[in-house]
């Protein structure tokens, strides 16, 4: 069983990297890009037996995402 955890910045938090990428795309002459948001994902493989959701939640909250500036979302793949 694989869970995918998506992590990205909360609204309104400055993401300097995304800014730099946007700027670069513009410099590459590609004008149609209006916005770019960036994030991470983690595919976590666990055994099939029990329900792992609460564990995955704990991992997401305590490790994968920084809840002060990031949101996370868990989906079962």
């Amino acid at each position: 069983m694989i869970f995918r955890v998506y992590v990205n910045f909360k609204d309104g938090i400055l993401d300097p990297e995304a800014e730099a990428i946007k700027q670069t795309i513009a410099n590459m002459g590609l004008k149609s890009v209006k916005n770019l948001v960036k994030g991470k994902f983690f595919d976590i493989e666990v055994g099939d037996k029990k329900n792992h959701l609460s564990e995955i939640e704990k991992i997401s909250k305590d490790l994968l995402a920084n809840p002060i500036i990031e949101n996370f979302k868990i989906v079962k793949k």
Binding site: P16, E17, A20, I21, T24
Partner: protein, 232 residues
């Protein structure tokens, strides 16, 4: 009189070893390099190009990648094809890799941390224009300061660059042992510096420009730059 040869240092927003490199070249070779700003789309002439360390464009996305979109890189590639010697140090190495002049990839250090310390390097190839004054297997000591210096290349490609003598420096002990213990960042086979096939482009993670003063932690950088004397 011979026309004075021209050394160019290409700088990007976020480069931060450009001054140090300038000082080192001036001190060791007695010539003043010229600075080329990253958006320069035509370099009229040059006899050697160096790309300094630092954090071009903040090292955002992947170290070196954004810099490869600057016009000056097209010029660097053009001159490299003409056989002009090109040297990338630290972030310069990362840029040369990202723009395809050198093979492989430089990923995050194996322990995830930035690392600033002195390392020993073993000269693996002393037949290039950049290293011919070194003895084979000579040990030199230089500082490193990077977080993405973990050299990666696929096994088949590794074999190719090995067979073609493109590995120039490896991390080692003071006595030349090339083992995991002396690998500061996780690089495949302790690789610290490589060249292209034609051997006119070289990249290395350590900073020779930070080892040129008596008060520095070693002065092995002087020899590195003096090696370049014949090229200009």
């Amino acid at each position: 009189m011979l026309k004075e040869k021209k050394i160019s240092i290409v700088i990007f927003p976020g480069s931060n070893c450009d001054r140090d490199l300038f000082v080192a070249l001036e001190k060791c070779l007695g010539t003043k390099p010229e600075f080329i700003w990253h958006n320069c789309s035509h370099i009229k002439s040059t006899d050697m190009i160096l790309i300094p360390g630092g954090f071009s464009f903040g090292d955002y996305l992947r170290a070196g990648i954004i810099a490869t979109k600057s016009p000056a890189i097209r010029e660097v590639i053009r001159f490299s094809k003409k056989g002009v010697p090109i040297i990338g140090i630290c972030n310069g190495f990362q840029i040369l890799i990202e723009c395809g002049l050198l093979e492989g990839a430089l990923i995050k250090n194996s322990n995830q941390l930035f690392k600033c310390e002195k390392v020993n390097l073993k000269v693996i190839n002393n037949k290039t224009i950049f290293t011919k004054n070194y003895k084979l297997s000579e040990i030199i000591s230089l500082p490193i300061a990077h977080s993405q210096g973990n050299y990666f290349i696929k096994p088949d490609k590794l074999k190719k660059i090995e067979d073609n003598d493109q590995i120039i420096f490896k991390y080692s002990s003071d006595f030349g042992d090339v083992t995991e213990k002396y690998n500061p960042n996780g690089s495949v086979n302790n690789i610290a510096g490589i060249s292209n096939k034609k051997k006119n482009v070289i990249g290395l993670m350590p900073h020779p420009e930070r080892a040129i003063e008596n008060f520095h932690n070693g002065i092995d950088g002087i020899k590195f730059f003096k090696n370049l004397k014949d090229l200009i």
